[in-house]
Symmetry: C2
């Protein structure tokens, strides 16, 4: 096991800055490219990350600490962000992500005061018993999953354009 | 085909900032994690990107524009960066990457003055005839390939830690 809270927070606090640096000011062609039907483009991924701060990670943490395994925490609608088309710019949404993430991390530090808290358990609606440390590990891996998704979608735009050099570019080799 | 020079430069100029925001100040555990034997950790990827600025992308572009298909451009040692262990901090190397990338982009803008230049061709040592536009597309995709590699390596550190939540985290599903 590799998880520790300090290192996890290092990644969580960097994600908004990294995605801000990657996406802010980009042309629409980059922001609207995806990996095919039913997949998300970079702009939609940011909406999903904002939604996760509001309804998923810290709310679930608080729920576990309150309810334990007594009742499962509410299911998270992973597609909620697709229903709301706000018309806000990517820069506005990246700023919102940075703000809600900062608030999440402040609450996290309040709620998880000790190593012992990391071992507390709750009940995931479909996956069963879940430890706080597993939820927090998943939060970090979730950031990285969606960062990778953005990067793969962008690389895919040039799948044809790279010509013979595709053989050296593993990211273009297959979709997932 | 999706390539255009302005949009390609948008990505190329953002990569050092994005990787700087992602990696600067991280613990060694994150900087030294890889995807298994023979794969690179985030720190080594930055060294590889620096090496690419010095010996690969713009030097090859200049070679194509000078020699055309007359002679193949020199092979690029993709493992050169592994030979030199500088002992410099990640922040120093991220700064160097930003500096050499800025210089590369300045030269790129000088060398590629028109759409016509994008159609010029050279000879890749193993892949044969290569257009300037293909080389530049590959440069962009190469940035994204290695950004994805960093992110996958980091996510992989928590493969066991996420417990039952692994089923929702596609990045942990398989290596590549």
């Amino acid at each position: 096991m590799n998880f520790n809270l300090k290192e996890a927070i290092e990644v969580l606090e960097r994600t908004p800055r990294a995605l801000g640096a990657m996406l802010s000011g980009l042309s629409e062609g980059w922001l609207r490219c995806d990996e095919g039907e039913g997949t998300w483009n970079p702009s939609e991924v940011i909406d999903h990350l904002i939604e996760g701060e509001k309804t998923n990670w810290v709310p679930r943490l608080a729920f576990i600490l309150k309810e334990g395994e007594g009742k499962p925490f509410p299911a998270f609608d992973r597609f909620a962000h697709l229903k709301e088309k706000s018309g806000r710019t990517i820069e506005e949404r990246l700023e919102e992500f940075a703000a809600v993430r900062a608030a999440s991390l402040a609450t996290l530090k309040e709620l998880v005061g000790s190593e012992e808290t990391l071992e507390r358990t709750g009940l995931h609606p479909t996956l069963g018993v879940l430890k706080v440390r597993e939820l927090l590990s998943a939060w970090v891996a979730h950031d990285l999953t969606h960062t990778a998704q953005i990067v793969r979608a962008m690389a895919g735009r040039y799948r044809e354009d790279v010509g013979p050099m595709i053989v050296n570019l593993s990211i273009l080799g297959s979709k997932r």
